[in-house]
């Protein structure tokens, strides 16, 4: 049946102008879907993937975010003495209490203010979160008012970068490094010394404590140990679950909105594809009648026309994925509703979203191709042979 497939492909080529318009329509709708998926992927990467699977986050009981949480110094000391915590090469427990505050910064070249997360932490945070790496400069010196800014902060707020000063909590802080974090939320944060930040804000408690488990299976024993100690009153979450919860509302909202638009546009694309294929069938009625007269079965005609329709869909899918590849260079920012801070993220193309887009393009082209193909397969041969045109 290679010849019948060649027949379908060449028909697409012959009707190149109408086929191109149909492909463009299908591709645009598929690109909308892909953009929605890429938004979701970008948010996932920025938020969910900010968490490491072996890291555990401790918050005050009842608190849903680090901003609203509080952990006293003595509580942090007790936690650091627990078993099942991984250790640094120096033998210290890899458990870092952190303070998270928000500051307002003006975006580059505008007066528009946006909230930015400032995280007071310790240099071991780079070990705790290996996805965060210095791309320029050096880490802050403990006990100083030096800071490292995330790459997105450098791009969107502090174009002068290293050497510039920033006022945080009534103190001037010196930018000494810029960090990249593989597209995660940490790229939208400012990191500095936790004790200096607590002092600058007059705080005597941390916001949270993040620790690395000695093994992934140690989560339950840590959870049990903290629950059993009445002094702690802390809740224990895997870091990844914490970020997943934070991203849930925003990701659901974006997906719902995106899928609604995609569905509406998809209906239009299906109608467009159907009209194109009806046109293709109408202009080839006699040709189809001839094939049936020669002895081709209705299902063979149906397959050839569906293949033609799927070819349009496949080309549209490829075009959409090409567009999606270009969209990867786009960085968007939004308000993180759980921290009320600016969150920048890149549209992220994954193999799964590319496959979904191709499946979607093929699906809508198939749905559009089925009614005309059925009509062609059911044509009365004698009537088809009398039809005008090809």
């Amino acid at each position: 049946m290679k010849l019948l497939l060649a027949y379908s492909l060449r028909n697409v080529w012959v009707r190149s102008s109408t086929a191109a318009l149909t492909i463009a329509g299908l591709a645009l709708v598929s690109l909308i879907l892909l953009a929605v998926l890429m938004l979701g992927n970008g948010l996932n990467r920025a938020l969910i993937e900010s968490g490491s699977p072996d890291n555990v986050l401790l918050l005050r009981k009842g608190a849903t975010t680090e901003i609203a949480s509080g952990i006293y110094r003595d509580q942090a000391h007790i936690v650091r003495t627990l078993a099942d915590i991984a250790q640094t090469s120096g033998g210290e427990p890899l458990a870092i209490p952190e303070l998270v505050v928000l500051i307002s910064l003006a975006k580059n070249g505008t007066d528009t203010l946006a909230n930015v997360v400032v995280r007071g932490t310790r240099p071991d945070a780079f070990i705790l979160r290996p996805q965060v790496r210095l791309s320029q400069g050096r880490p802050w010196q403990p006990g100083t008012t030096e800071i490292v800014i995330g790459a997105q902060i450098a791009t969107r707020f502090l174009r002068d970068g290293i050497g510039s000063h920033l006022r945080i909590g009534k103190r001037e802080w010196l930018v000494v490094g810029i960090a990249e974090a593989q597209g995660t939320a940490f790229e939208s944060e400012i990191w500095g010394d936790v004790d200096q930040l607590m002092s600058a804000y007059g705080r005597d408690s941390y916001s949270s404590l993040t620790l690395r488990l000695s093994s992934s299976s140690a989560f339950q024993s840590i959870d049990d140990a903290i629950a059993a100690d009445t002094r702690l009153l802390l809740q224990v979450k895997r870091e990844r679950d914490y970020y997943r919860d934070k991203s849930m509302t925003m990701a659901t909202f974006i997906r719902l909105l995106g899928f609604t638009f995609t569905f509406i546009f998809a209906v239009g694309a299906v109608l467009g594809g159907t009209m194109t294929m009806y046109g293709a069938v109408a202009s080839r009625t006699r040709e189809i009648g001839m094939l049936r007269a020669l002895g081709f079965q209705p299902h063979q005609i149906l397959s050839a026309l569906l293949f033609e329709s799927l070819t349009l869909g496949a080309l549209a899918g490829l075009l959409a994925i090409g567009g999606g590849t270009a969209l990867q260079f786009v960085t968007l920012s939004t308000m993180n509703f759980s921290t009320f801070s600016e969150l920048a993220f890149r549209l992220t193309l994954t193999p799964a979203s590319a496959l979904s887009t191709m499946g979607f393009a093929l699906g809508i082209s198939m749905i559009g191709g089925i009614p005309p193909a059925i009509r062609a397969a059911r044509l009365s041969v004698a009537a088809a042979l009398r039809a005008p045109g090809r």
């Binding site: 006699r286 001839m290 020669l294 042979l385």
Partner: protein, 226 residues
């Protein structure tokens, strides 16, 4: 006595426009022995194309029985008829009905796709059929690169490539000038004489009908004369 290759027994055919019945064939009987070249003439709407459609099973009679190439055509299902047509019926159409996006060779190969022949065997048959109609040097030409007469010869090559029992030609010269028409008719005559093909040809042109062994004159659904 040789059994007829096409036989109509008291066949009637009517079309319906709403409730209105439009009779096309009335109590028509016909017997065509193998190797006969029969022309069917008549004015437009006289039912001559309907006879070809009924022979090929593209249309069904309202009454009566039709047998062709060993099959009771009027009693078969669509799928069986399609398979039978692929084996026993060759079509030559007035407007050639070549597929414009396929080359001459590919157009001729179409009926062979329904056979069990290998690709190489199909190519051999295609070359032989195009050679028989004198178009061996036009194998890779597309229909738009051929004249009307050449297109019809490709159509004839497609009709004979699977060596069908019956050749049905519906106004094969209806779209050609005189000289091209004569060349096409000479070719059909040659196929009839050399390959002993049974040919049923519908035409309204007496000069085309003269090439046949026998002519049926049709009018208002019945044979006016023969």
């Amino acid at each position: 006595m040789t059994a007829p290759v096409v036989e109509f027994q008291r066949v009637s055919k009517s079309y319906f426009r709403g409730e209105q019945e439009i009779p096309v064939l009335k109590d028509f009987s016909l017997s065509v022995p193998p190797g006969r070249f029969l022309a069917i003439m008549g004015p437009s709407g006289s039912g001559k194309t309907t006879i070809l459609n009924l022979v090929a099973g593209l249309d069904r009679p309202t009454q009566g029985t039709i047998r062709a190439a060993g099959l009771t055509v009027s009693q078969q299902g669509e799928s069986d008829l399609a398979r039978w047509r692929a084996r026993h019926i060759g079509f030559v159409f007035q407007f050639y009905n070549l597929i414009p996006v396929l080359t001459a060779a590919e157009n001729v190969e179409l009926p062979l796709l329904l056979s069990t022949l290998t690709r190489q065997e199909r190519a051999t048959h295609v070359r032989a059929a195009l050679g028989l109609v004198g178009l061996k040097d036009r194998i890779d030409h597309y229909p738009r690169q051929l004249s009307g007469g050449q297109e019809q010869r490709v159509g004839i090559a497609r009709a004979i490539v699977s060596d069908p029992t019956i050749l049905l030609a519906d106004e094969p010269t209806g779209n050609l000038d005189r000289s091209a028409a004569e060349a096409v008719m000479a070719l059909l005559t040659k196929l009839h004489r050399e390959l002993n093909k049974t040919i049923l040809m519908v035409t309204h042109d007496p000069r085309t009908a003269d090439y046949a062994q026998e002519t049926l004159h049709f009018d208002k659904g019945t044979v006016a004369s023969s």
